[in-house]
């Protein structure tokens, strides 16, 4: 077998391998932990490195317009046997890239950040399980399978949020997270039962092709949107998010950002694919629901962020506000999709919303890593107690400035490019939406200027006299994300054309997704 054949074989089986590799790695990690801590750390990084390579291999093919399906079970669809189908389009691949990058950076960061902790075999096992869960949610084409991966992600996330069991608030945050996740998951399961009862199917493409938009379908739609939006941290169901994000170790928070975005992906998959054909039937636009939720999320998130005095809790509320931008962009796309005169606006809004998913993961992720670095160096997260750290932590300060500019949508960072797309497209739908979005960005800038002043500027405080820069592995992790932010900011056209636009088209042209499973399907153009 030559190299080309091997790559073809890997590409063919990559949808399965992308989930199988971290899952298998998770079960092997406790065994390798018994050998040596360094060997375990290297093993986990290599496992996620291999997973990332497979994701990039699959994505490189999917972004050219192909859709990959992978059937677990009988290949003959006429046979009445249990089978699970993975279906990977450009949107799935886009989300998988985000998840795998965040997980890989998080384990590199963890090398130094978590080295003083015990129970790291469980920590790395849970991280790999969580990664497998997120990737499964993004790659599966089966709704029940989506629920299973959502549960895997939720359980491992809750355990990781409560990883610092010596801190009561961490355990409390983990408890809240699992309660909220379970409530959300139960309603998702109920919605799946409604589909199964009506259409005798669990496959997303099959449900989409059979969708009648009955009364039960409307109930299922409400429950799915509400439950997944809660898991994504949409206001007013966001309250678990600042608790979990601020009390988890920073490396875990980075992956949690990916997990919430996987739930947001679920909202988009439901609205665009499963209910893609029903948009015409609905007299009240689902898009407007997303737009209104987005605006409320943006405003409340940023308002709560401005009054926070805990570094991590402040970033968590900013992350809530950022979710609003994604909902606004995608919601606008959904609203104008049916208007032939506004097709270009709809596509621009979709591109903005989707591009912002990746930008938010990078920007907010970097800020959480900086917060973790400050905690590592000072054992402090209160903005009332920090100060003058720019003198001792020069690299961390530079990374914070990059994150600050990016998350506030300041040029020439990546956040500006995606927010510009959102501002311009929402302006054409309704100028007030655009004004609110710009106002929220200005407030976000104010929020992080406050952090910059209170934590990094000011006189050198005697209690932080001996504070040193964080270890190299943490700097490498922060540097990697900062570099991606700068590259995305400087060359947005390349990123949008090569990965964002195919993802937006994959959501809009849901018929291609359905036809991959049901070739006779004629809708969805």
């Amino acid at each position: 077998m030559n190299v080309a054949d091997l790559i073809d074989l890997l590409l063919q089986h990559s949808p399965a391998l992308i989930v199988a590799v971290p899952l298998l790695g998770a079960f092997i990690t406790p065994l390798i932990s018994r050998l040596n801590d360094k060997v375990r750390n290297v093993f986990v990084i290599l496992t996620l490195g291999l997973t990332a390579s497979l994701v990039f291999l699959l994505a490189s093919d999917v972004f050219t317009g192909n859709i990959h399906t992978y059937i677990f079970g009988s290949q003959d669809l006429a046979l009445p046997v249990v089978r699970i189908l993975f279906e990977v389009d450009a949107m799935s691949a886009f989300m998988a890239i985000i998840s795998v990058i965040l997980s890989l950076v998080a384990v590199i960061y963890s090398w130094s950040f978590m080295k003083e902790n015990t129970g790291l075999d469980k920590y790395y096992t849970l991280i790999l399980l969580m990664t497998a869960g997120m990737l499964g949610m993004e790659l599966t084409g089966d709704l029940f399978n989506f629920f299973v991966f959502l549960e895997i992600t939720s359980i491992s996330s809750a355990a990781l949020v409560a990883f610092w069991t010596n801190k009561a608030k961490s355990v409390e945050a983990g408890f809240k997270y699992i309660v909220i996740s379970t409530i959300g998951a139960l309603f998702i399961l109920f919605s799946i039962a409604l589909f199964y009862g009506q259409y005798n199917a669990l496959n997303m493409a099959m449900i989409a092709s059979a969708m009648q938009y009955t009364f039960l379908d409307k109930i299922a739609l409400v429950l799915l949107i509400a439950a997944l939006a809660m898991k994504a941290g949409v206001v007013p169901m966001h309250m678990w998010l600042p608790d979990a994000y601020s009390k988890a170790p920073s490396s875990v928070t980075l992956i949690l950002v990916g997990a919430t975005q996987a739930s947001l992906y679920g909202v988009f998959r439901v609205c665009f694919t499963i209910y893609g054909g029903a948009i015409n039937l609905s007299s009240i636009s689902i898009g407007w629901i997303l737009v209104i939720l987005g605006i409320i999320t943006m405003l409340l998130g940023v308002a709560m962020a401005i009054i926070q005095t805990d570094f991590k809790r402040l970033i968590a509320f900013s992350a809530v506000a950022e979710i609003g931008y994604m909902l606004l962009g995608i919601g606008t796309g959904l609203v104008v999709m049916l208007n032939p005169e506004m097709t270009a606006t709809g596509l621009a809004a979709m591109k903005g919303g989707i591009f912002h998913i990746m930008n938010d993961a990078l920007d907010v992720g970097l800020l959480f890593l900086v917060a973790g670095a400050i905690y590592y160096a000072t054992k402090e997260t209160s903005l009332n107690k920090l100060g003058g750290l720019a003198r001792n932590m020069k690299y961390t300060t530079v990374f914070f400035i990059i994150g600050l500019l990016a998350v506030s949508g300041m040029p020439p960072m990546n956040g500006f490019a995606s927010k510009l797309l959102i501002y311009e497209s929402t302006y054409q739908l309704n100028p007030i939406l655009s004004i609110i979005a710009i106002l929220s960005s200005i407030m976000l800038l104010a929020v992080f200027v406050k952090v910059f002043h209170s934590a990094f500027l000011g006189p050198a405080l005697p209690k932080f006299e001996n504070v040193k820069e964080v270890p190299k592995s943490m700097l490498i992790a922060m540097g990697t994300i900062a570099t991606i932010i700068i590259i995305f900011g400087l060359f947005p056209e390349i990123i949008v054309n090569s990965i964002v636009e195919p993802a937006a088209n994959a959501l809009i042209n849901y018929g291609d997704y359905v036809r991959e499973v049901i070739p006779s399907f004629t809708g969805g153009v």
Binding site: M239, L383, N384, A417, A460, L461
Partner: protein
């Protein structure tokens, strides 16, 4: 073969455009102008002399920790004038997981009313 052309492409937003490269060039030019203007300034400044000490209208200098404006002091005027808004928001965030679940129920109820009842009303009209 690698070419520079794609890297220099202008970002088309549908109704406008954005070029980070031109923006950076403009910032560099502005920075150079600032440096040149600064060069015309006086050069008598001496480090580690009385010129570098803080002058607080003749008042004694406080301890360094007291001099630093802390996180909760920033934007005091803004948060004070909008206290009623922030108080309402704080009350909303009880920290009680039962309330978190209640908000979920409220959102489900609103979505039901909007999507199901609203559609029926629209249909009747």
């Amino acid at each position: 073969m690698f070419t520079l052309e794609p890297l220099l492409e202008t970002f088309q937003t549908g109704s406008g455009f954005w070029s980070p490269i031109i923006w950076i060039v403009a910032i560099i030019v502005a920075f150079l102008v600032a440096v040149i203007l600064r060069g015309f300034g006086k050069k008598e400044y001496k480090e580690k002399t009385g010129q570098t000490q803080a002058f607080l209208s003749g008042n004694p200098e406080y301890e360094k920790e007291q001099m630093h404006i802390k996180g909760s002091n920033l934007y005091w005027g803004f948060t004070e004038s909008l206290e009623w808004v922030f108080d309402a928001l704080k009350k909303m965030h009880t920290g009680n997981v039962s309330d978190y679940a209640l908000w979920f129920v409220i959102v489900v109820a609103i979505l039901f009313i909007v999507l199901i009842t609203g559609e029926n009303l629209m249909g009747a009209i």
